[in-house]
Symmetry: C2
Subunit: 574 residues, 2 copies
């Protein structure tokens, strides 16, 4: 198509408040337009990209025997009451009443709708396994939408649901799906995406994987082992530390530490390494306001997700006042009153610790938990750290990197099939609940993530597979008749060769023309200019400038096709 | 794919309460599943059909220079306040508040979102004309959903919006779009769809067309002229009648008509043709409860849409009680008190009428409105009737048929661009509001309508262009090794020839296999059976049984491709 017809504006100025490059470029390049917090309209440039992404996803889902279906966006509350989620999910679930006062909701995920669709179909074991998926709009009333399409309230998602009659079958399908996801991410141009064990599993385990794109703007932290290659979300990664007991038994000794409320202060004052301190982190139960104190080695931090998984109740950071009965900044395990104590396993097998004395302006030294407090249970409650010990191979080779979650696959077990009374007759005539897996990819977030991973200061560098156009034809000096005729001829040749081309023949400066082309980010740029036309050749450049060739008019289309093939192989590794 | 893997159930029994064949067949055939009133999930069979429909629509929209975009499903109320529709639209607009108590709504159409997207882009006349469209989920809280996908609350729609700087340009684009719509309906297999002038225009006029599929289950009535071919929705069709004055002047005479409240009763009793009666139809103003009486020739009915357009206020059929001061069943124009009188033009130029005497149990004969009541204004308020006079050619050749609306195109003028302050600088530096057109097609309704137009008692007869599969391969007696091997070989050949084939090799009776195939409705059925295999040939039948050929295994794929081409040409006229 002609560039001048492309609806949407392109800007030089970085939009205000866009800390994320992909968001800034998509705004500047006429990809998206803000409608409301976390809600955007897409211009044609982005829609061309998302349609290609959707098609790649579709092909890979079909290749693992998926069947495309369509669930409703608006569902009756009764469906979500069956699973208990209507009550259990918070305000991110958008609830409303229809004209007849029936409570309804907007789907943010479709487990209930999936079970509803196949509940009667799946009555016999012979129907299993099967997988259904949709590509559909979802709405999640996020408290803090951010980064444009990275975390939107309304978004397009591919969500898939598989049903199985045995754990072995579930596991083997899960691997097929993980592999399909890896093919999808490779095909859209980010083969560096890594499957990472997430919260619901443990490192190296396997009932839930997040697919993480390494990116400095990512909200997630990933622990990866440089030795064995295993990876986990920091929320899920086991934290292993080596402790050594001191052979010298020291007595528990109260010391005055006036005004020293932090571990750094206290250890500095007492001249102790932080690894020999017992830090207290105080929480309060959201319902009862009761205090919960986590004791942890001074150099480590509490992983709130692990804590929440252990406690199974909602906690918040404690606000400690006079009436609380505990001494803020001076809390310790010995003689603690008015709070539940939990111990991180970083404190196991270590003695001679400093800790709070539960009295303002005093600490203890020489703490030996087993001697002074007694037998306690130790839990894994600490965040994994850079250089930490890999729970798989035991080497101190963990690195921590930031990532954007571009996909997520779960094993759901019988959570939904049991609560929603879906069952099948097995080979022996017994009624059983099928096992279920679910598999999500956000289409818009994926487009934004590819942009995040593949851009320069001037614009996105789209891979061939999802680029809005394959070639951007620039007619520099369209007021020069011979240049215009040459470019028009190229345009006609490209179109008839089936090349997706956008043709800019506006009477604008070269600077404007090229900076607009940078924002569109087509993998190849073809330049017809007075200088080129003189010797009857156009110039063909890759968007990243790595490739630059000159071709005569009658060979340009073939050259483009060859370059696209080469670029494509290099970009996706497929 | 293998039929046995197809998720969804097929039934023999017609579902309860389904007066509409397409709804019954889509339920019986595993196309849709009821989720809530007017809300359905789609199984893979239907999703394959709707994806093909969407692709045809996309191609035709692109061919008239449309650019595919995507608007949000959930929009802030503020956007609809700009146009005034947030307040103006009734309860079919689904309103709700988000977690921060911001009022929001679900899009049932996207004029506001379209203007919002291009308001800045369209600041100069040089950008015009342009058209943007989307294919997206919509929600309309219908009071009476019916017929499955024919009138659903949630539905997928293609909606397009064009912008122009002159009426001439608008008109010429409107014709292009109408032609594109006609190609779409032809390509999906219902070339009989007719463009019909609708309510917002008048017959033969042209600022709004509905595209009507003739169908007995249709909710709309269309008046079509058998002579000149012009068509209009009955809601919009002018009603023209010929009246002749009687040369005999008769006096206004009160006659006793005890208990005779209907025109039929009165005319029968007085031995008058109904065409010589003046019928009264009483309404009440919804706000003020005041009476409005429409006088109309006794053989005609009031067209409520025309009345609403004239009055511009909400009326309801009157409830007349003692206190009302008017005599129910005996209302007439002479000495009418306590009501506003309106006169249909069917009463113009006629005398010697019978009418109510505004007194219980009495009528008048000999009414001459101009003589007895005085000069009154006549309006076109009657429904066009079968055999009526065509307002275009003047011949009494109107026929009335029922239709399902499968598309609608409007000229919106500057309604939205003016209220939402979208303007552009014209050639002379003057600010002006662009003209806007909008163009809708419901995807699910279109699928259901094709089914409605093309089915028999056993199932849908899908046209090649949108059929879920092109060929349905039936292996009759899959327990016979040689038959199974023959069918497996055909399946492999078809797949490698790129034929979309569904393969049924279940061990079920021929009856079950064929009735399931009827419900899937693939245009061609290929049968491998012991009898066929004996002479090394399969049988290829069209779904409508019009074509039946036998082919050897190595020629079957080519035969299928040839038959598909022939069928396709016949079905779509394209």
């Amino acid at each position: 198509m002609k560039f001048e017809r492309l609806v949407g504006e392109r800007f030089k100025e970085k939009p205000a408040g866009s800390a994320i490059d992909s968001f800034a470029l998509m705004t500047r390049g006429g990809y998206i337009k803000y409608v409301a917090s976390g809600i955007y309209s897409s211009y044609a440039v982005l829609r061309r990209i998302t349609r290609k992404i959707e098609q790649i996803i579709r092909e890979e889902m079909d290749a693992i025997d998926g069947q495309e279906v369509l669930f409703p966006v608006a569902m009756p509350a009764s469906l979500w009451r069956e699973s208990g989620r209507y009550e259990a999910v918070g305000r991110e679930l958008m609830r409303f009443n229809d004209r007849n006062d029936n409570p309804m909701l907007l789907g943010m995920t479709h487990e209930e709708a999936a079970v509803h669709l196949v509940r009667e179909y799946g009555r016999s074991y012979v129907k299993y396994p099967f997988m259904i998926y949709q590509i559909q709009t979802k709405f999640r009333d996020e408290p803090r939408p951010r980064g444009g399409l990275i975390r939107a309230r309304e978004f397009t998602m591919k969500d898939a649901y598989s049903f199985h009659t045995s754990q072995e079958d579930m596991d083997s399908y899960f691997i097929r799906c993980r592999d399909a996801y890896e093919r999808i991410f490779a095909r859209v141009g980010i083969p560096q995406v890594a499957a990472v064990a997430s919260d619901s599993g443990m490192m190296g385990g396997g009932v839930s994987y997040e697919f993480m794109l390494p990116a400095s703007v990512g909200e997630d932290l990933i622990a990866a082992c440089g030795n064995c290659g295993c990876r986990a979300n920091v929320e899920a990664a086991a934290c292993i530390v080596k402790n050594e007991r001191s052979f010298v038994e020291k007595p528990l000794t109260k010391v005055s530490t006036p005004g020293m409320k932090t571990i750094a202060d206290v250890c500095g004052y007492l001249n102790l390494p932080v690894e020999r301190s017992c830090k207290a982190v105080a929480y309060q139960n959201n319902m009862t306001d009761e205090y919960v104190v986590v004791f942890i080695r001074g150099d480590l931090d509490v992983n709130d997700t692990k804590l929440a998984n252990l406690i199974q109740e909602d906690l918040r950071p404690a606000v400690i006042d006079e009436a609380g009965g505990i001494a803020a900044g001076f809390i310790g395990p010995y003689n603690l009153r008015g709070a539940t104590a939990l111990y991180d396993r970083s404190l196991a097998g270590i003695n001679d610790l400093c800790c709070g004395a539960n009295e303002t302006d005093y600490h203890y030294t020489g703490l030996d938990i087993e001697r002074d407090v007694g037998q306690v249970a130790y839990h894994d409650l600490a965040k994994a750290v850079e250089g930490g010990i890999c729970p798989e191979c035991g080497e101190p080779a963990l690195t921590i990197w930031r990532g954007v979650e571009v996909g997520h696959i779960f094993q759901l077990g019988t959570k939904y099939t049991e609560s929603m009374h879906m069952d099948y007759m097995d080979e022996n005539g017994r009624l059983r609940h099928p096992l279920m897996g679910c598999y999500g990819i956000g289409v818009g977030r994926l487009a934004a993530s590819v942009c995040e991973a593949r851009h320069d200061a001037y614009g996105p560098i789209w891979p061939v597979s999802i680029a809005p156009w394959q070639a951007h034809l620039c007619c520099v000096r369209a007021d020069d008749g011979s240049v215009k005729a040459f470019a028009d001829d190229l345009y006609a040749r490209f179109e008839s060769a089936g090349i997706e081309v956008i043709y800019d023949d506006r009477l604008v400066s070269v600077g404007v023309m090229f900076s607009d082309a940078d924002l569109i980010g087509a993998p190849l740029r073809v330049i017809a200019s007075p200088r080129n036309v003189k010797d009857g050749r156009c110039e063909i450049l890759s968007r990243d400038k790595a490739v630059s060739v000159r071709a005569a008019a009658d060979e340009a289309a073939d050259t483009i096709k060859r370059l696209l093939r080469e670029l494509s192989a290099r970009q996706t590794g497929v």
